[in-house]
Symmetry: C2
């Protein structure tokens, strides 16, 4: 599959519009049969969902400008389903419909391992991350990390020649932390930088967990080198587990707070790593197996929008069943006695209106 330039523009407009995240993007495109039709449907969905104002839809001009600027800077937008799209990222629950890639695209389709850890790393942690990244690089793996201070930077630096990928929480024009702008340029010679955000997007706190799902999603496995309790690296480990990726952790002294997180992961069943061979032993058999792409969902009998348009009563009844506590969509269908298609439509409307939050695992709540 390869998008036409016109389709790529529509895709970019849709994902850049308010209240459209990767999951909603997929819902909308499946439902309306394409991004263009989905864009046309947004105002109606927002109105019926009870939006406080008109839906902010990304204009054709804004999207075209982003594409043009990107092209000028050597950044390429790769769409979900295109041959250059990283194969394993395609398998996650909420793959970004478009990723903006700078550098060597070829690395995205190589076998990848993530190495992440504390910003506030110990000298030993940094040294170990370097050794591991170098040895895994020599073994043929591309090294994925988050360009942060500490462990991330050490992992990138030790794999500059073998190839490394920096996944950004902001846009390509807002490198964080700024002091790593030069490191990033060095990465691009044999590696790449990846972002799903607009070029000038300033990363906010909540963009980091969102980015972390890409770090694990790109990779066969994630190695956590040092991590305090409740640190971002543990979020990456959790996401990796949810995505079915291998989770590796490096042990440390129980008296070292920087090992609390990794020791905790080991107690939960992560694979203990003291050398590259521990990682390779687990990942090599997976590589051999090739990609375990999920079975295609049976072609849905996508009902025309009109047929699944809920009446006012039905819509109110469904909304009345929801609240701020996350509830299962399945339960909503059962309790409302509406058809799954109707419930999905109401949820889409609420989402586009900015009134719905999706929590993953089929859970939703009202905002």
């Amino acid at each position: 599959m390869q998008l036409s330039e016109e389709q790529r523009l529509d895709w970019l407009r849709l994902i850049r519009s308010d209240n459209v995240g990767p999951r909603t993007f997929r819902e909308l495109v499946n439902y309306y049969g394409g991004a263009r039709a989905a864009l046309a449907a947004l105002p109606g969905l927002a109105r019926r969902g009870g939006a406080s104002g008109p839906a902010r839809i990304c204009s054709q001009e804004a999207a075209a400008a982003e594409l043009k600027t990107a092209r000028g800077r050597g950044i390429k937008f790769v769409a979900l389903g295109e041959p250059d799209y990283p194969p394993r990222l395609q398998m996650i629950d909420d793959p970004p419909p478009l990723i903006a890639v700078r550098g060597q695209h070829a690395i995205l389709t190589r076998p990848l391992v993530a190495i992440v850890g504390s910003r506030n790393a110990s000298a030993a942690g940094v040294k170990f991350a370097e050794r591991l990244a170098r040895e895994l690089g020599e073994a043929g793996f591309g090294i994925v990390s988050g360009l942060a201070r500490g462990i991330d930077a050490a992992a990138h630096r030790a794999s500059l020649t073998s190839g490394t990928i920096a996944v950004l929480a902001g846009g390509h024009d807002r490198i964080y932390p700024a002091e790593h702008a030069h490191l990033l340029e060095t990465i691009l010679a044999h590696g790449a930088a990846v972002s799903e955000m607009p070029l000038t997007w300033e990363p906010r706190a909540r963009d980091f967990p969102r980015r972390n799902r890409l770090i694990s999603g790109l990779s066969l496995g994630v190695v956590i080198v040092e991590a305090a309790r409740r640190s971002g690296s543990l979020i990456t480990a959790r996401l990796a587990g949810e995505q079915g990726r291998e989770v590796f952790a490096v042990p440390g002294s129980p008296l070292d707070p920087r090992a609390e997180g990794t020791n905790g992961l080991l107690k939960q069943g992560a694979t203990l790593v003291t050398e590259a061979a521990d990682v390779i032993a687990v990942l090599e058999p997976i590589l051999g197996r090739g990609l375990d792409l999920p079975a295609q969902e049976p072609a849905q009998e996508t009902p025309g929008p009109l047929e699944t348009e809920p009446g006012e009563d039905e819509r109110s009844r469904i909304i009345a069943l929801m609240g701020p506590t996350p509830a299962a969509i399945d339960d909503l269908v059962r309790l409302s006695q509406s058809s799954p298609a109707i419930v999905r439509t109401v949820l889409l409307e609420l989402e586009i209106a900015g009134r719905l939050e999706r929590h993953g695992g089929g859970l939703i709540s009202l905002l």
Copy 2:
């Protein structure tokens, strides 16, 4: 079961005689129906086994003197099967028939956990061992260790009040290392010292692994705090595994050589410990279950010695099948086409003659 003083003397003579270890002791007593009859049989066994000289049998006077000296120093000999004998130690393959106990006997029948590790411990390792010993002591466990420098001493010191057991590789009159003689005296106030060796036995290198089986054998589980590769603590861990005891290991940095052994144990499936609760969570359910004593072997039809006396030809045929490479007794029976009783008799003869080595797991070799 409680031995008479006369029986205790016979037991001590038998176990103190040349070429009689804990396994042979049990064979002999089962075979001849008691220690006294076994003592009487030793010279004949040694002769038929091809001993180079007469068997050195511990004299009545020597054994009586050892018992008397021990009594004078407050050391009590407890025999396998007596109520004071540590219940779990009874379950191992090769329990000592007699243990010499100094201090508070009551601690031997409490739930026990071993804490062991490097002599050359790090400050962090010592601190962690202390914390763990203190917390497990507070939770009601007696702490077993080997009185060595480093981790062992730290574990003892932190559990002086709650109760701790030092298991000696030598006799009670040859405390090793000598600098811990005072520590040992302090231990005795609420704890005990245990040895299976003669009072004045100077520990040799090979006595330490032998002693280590008692450390694990007394305990529900063994915690290894720090251990280099190929260290004595790893022997204790292996013995603990073979004895069906829980093996716990404390993680450490892959760059710390003192953590190589413990990280290796964790890779092999040991339970990761960063706090006392990790140990308690595993051991508490075992405690609840009470002792899982092995089923009694069916009463053997002990054949009279005469009936199982092999002829010269048969003896030579069996010995010809053996060599310096460990072989299974079962195979010996099969290949020789002799009865198991005859093969056992020949093995006993060879053993008493000092020509046989038993390797555990039913393996034997000629010396």
